[in-house]
Amino acid sequence: MASSTKSSSKSSSKSAKSSKNGKSGAKGLDESDVGARTDHLELFRQMYLIRQFEIACGENYSKGLIGGFLHLYIGQEASGVGAISTLRDDDYIVSHYRDHGHALARGLDINRSMAELFGRSTGTSKGKGGSMHLFDVAKRFMGGHAIVAGQLPLAAGLALAQQYNKTDALTMCFFGDGSTNQGIYHETMNLAAIWKLPVLFFLENNMYGMGSSIERVRAGGIDFCPSMATYGIPAVEVDGMDVLAVREATEIAVERIRKGDGPQFIEAKTFRFVGHSLSDGQKYRGQEEVKEWEERDPVATFPTRLIEMGLATADQIAETKASVDEAIAKAVEFAEQSPEPDLSEIHNDVFA
């Protein structure tokens, strides 16, 4: 397992260093970076927010207040938070069905997000989307998408529009290791490469597509970066449990895309500590493996690191946690008290 980043392409090997080894990582743990303090604490706040939001989701799913499937992002928070922290407001984000983390990192309203999971009229999609389909177009969060790999060409198309309109905005597309065996994955990589689209392909390799370990279902093994040479897309691997490493690697890729270098690929090695969905008994993997990854839990380890580095105090961490806990409790209350959609809503939003 890579400790932070390693590169598979010549073009990215120089700049994509880890925050630990790099002498002046773009915005890594560099104490001379005065403005970084709030940044770091904000990264923690977002990861903690996602964790607590999802714990609350799990509880309310068990109570029957959330329906359908519930896929939790617990364990993977550093990946989405680090990546999304590098974006501008005019960039698009496209996500997969495990989308809560990306939505919250993008700043979607937690009340409305929770209400969407509860299926209420105050939800982000007025209760018509659910857990797997969070959207907020004002924030350019273009959806959780639940057909595996189906979101990739959507991202390519958003990027195509950004290119067509001659902006330097970009589209960040999240997908999991499970999506890489779909034909549409390869079609999209090729299309994005030949058209030099401003899209960042962000692979969250959590090692399992539902219950199938990637080792079992992929001919090329668990490392994806070498395969990107096929498309001529610069690729870099990063430790998805290290929010700063993710942020640094992503910043470099983002900068290249804005310069017009075309699509970039990042593989974040990460792990979900919980099952594929809440109905998953996890018969396919041992608890040893889970425990090993849990030792590197970003939500648990990052505060210690911040305190050790003098970038945050224990009090600041505690205050952050307390305010998030309060906000989550309010979000659940908001969702519970929100009205069900009116039945007249059934026929709305089919056509523009």
Partner: protein, 325 residues
């Protein structure tokens, strides 16, 4: 009024949209350098440049999906499939993305995209290139589906499709690209969802669309020679379907035969027939008669293919069987 062929009518609709709206661009296999498999986009690359006339790899899922993304971002893409049979490769994108995005985002996203595709059998292309999947897509909520039978309708429907803020499939009957018809120079549009009574009559209604209008019109001529007053309706739009126009016609004629050159089973005319029996049975003097192509994979051999394809004799047989005319 000047006469042009259907291919030219489509071309005119596309060309004026490209000229008038910078958000409009086209994507598809060999639409640029090659000029389009059916020459609809011939000359476009030179006129509008590679940014707006985009040749794609043979990746229907990726380029159709990219069209959806571009539309969601505010552009107005026109995406071409070389055959509607190839749309199957991209059905996930069309149905799960293009058609569902608006609803599942609670109305936040619209997909103003036109999908163009040649459709239908009759030119000996065998099972994989002769199908008519506009009938499948007409079932999908969030999609609009049109299918013109004349150059006039082709231009009017294309204009409306491009202006529509929803995904619209324009199914282009491949056998009709060279069909001639009058098209005025003055601007007009044809509203999506409105059928056209192309011939007024009082004894029986024949309804079809696209290439099916040919055997239907031929049958109407034969019946007229026998002294039967035939009303003919061209659906033009398969989603939404103008059921009101059909019910109104049945109230007048009390007899109806629905005709499709797509396979008989399922499809648009099954929907039409089922709705008619529910909404118009009190005015009907007999059963809603259905004509469609034989439910087999399309054969290559010309004799076999013609036998499978619904034809004028089938329409006349249905009229005789259902209503003794």
């Amino acid at each position: 009024m000047p006469e042009i062929v259907l291919r030219e009518a489509l071309k005119r609709g596309l060309e004026e949209a490209l000229e008038n709206d910078p958000r409009v661009f086209m994507m598809g296999e060999d639409i640029g350098e090659y000029g389009g498999a059916y020459a609809v986009t011939d000359g476009f690359l030179k006129k509008f440049g590679p940014e707006r006339i985009k040749d794609t790899p043979i990746s229907e899922q990726a380029f159709l999906g990219a069209g959806i993304g571009a539309a969601a971002a505010g552009l107005r893409p026109i995406v071409e499939f070389m055959s509607i049979s190839f749309s199957l490769v991209a059905f996930d994108q069309i149905v799960n993305m293009a058609a569902n995005l608006r609803y599942m985002s609670g109305g936040q996203i619209s997909v103003p995209m036109v999908i163009r595709a040649p459709t239908g059998a009759g030119v000996q292309l065998g099972a994989t290139h002769s199908q008519s999947f506009e009938t499948w897509l007409a079932e999908v909520p969030g999609m609009k589906v049109v299918c013109p039978s004349t150059p006039y309708d082709a231009l009017g429907l294309m204009r409306s499709a491009i202006k529509d803020d929803n995904p619209v499939l324009v199914a282009e009957p491949a056998l009709l690209y060279g069909a001639k018809g009058e098209v005025p120079d003055e601007y007009y549009e044809i509203e999506i969802g409105k059928a056209d009574v192309t011939r007024e009559g009082s004894d029986i209604t024949l309804v079809s669309y696209g290439y099916g209008m040919h055997p239907t019109n031929a049958a109407a001529n034969t019946l007229a020679e026998r002294g039967v007053s035939v009303e003919v309706i061209d659906l033009r739009s398969l989603s939404p379907i103008d059921m009101d126009a059909l019910v109104a016609s049945v109230q007048k004629t009390n007899r109806i035969v629905v005709v499709d050159t797509a396979r008989r089973r399922g499809g648009v005319m099954a929907e039409v027939a089922a709705d008619l029996q529910q909404r118009a049975s009190e005015w009907l003097d007999g059963p809603v008669m259905r004509v469609g192509s034989v439910d087999v994979p399309w054969p290559y051999n010309r004799g076999l293919e013609q036998e499978v394809l619904a034809a004028v004799a089938d329409v006349l047989a249905a009229v005789a069987e259902g209503y003794g005319l």
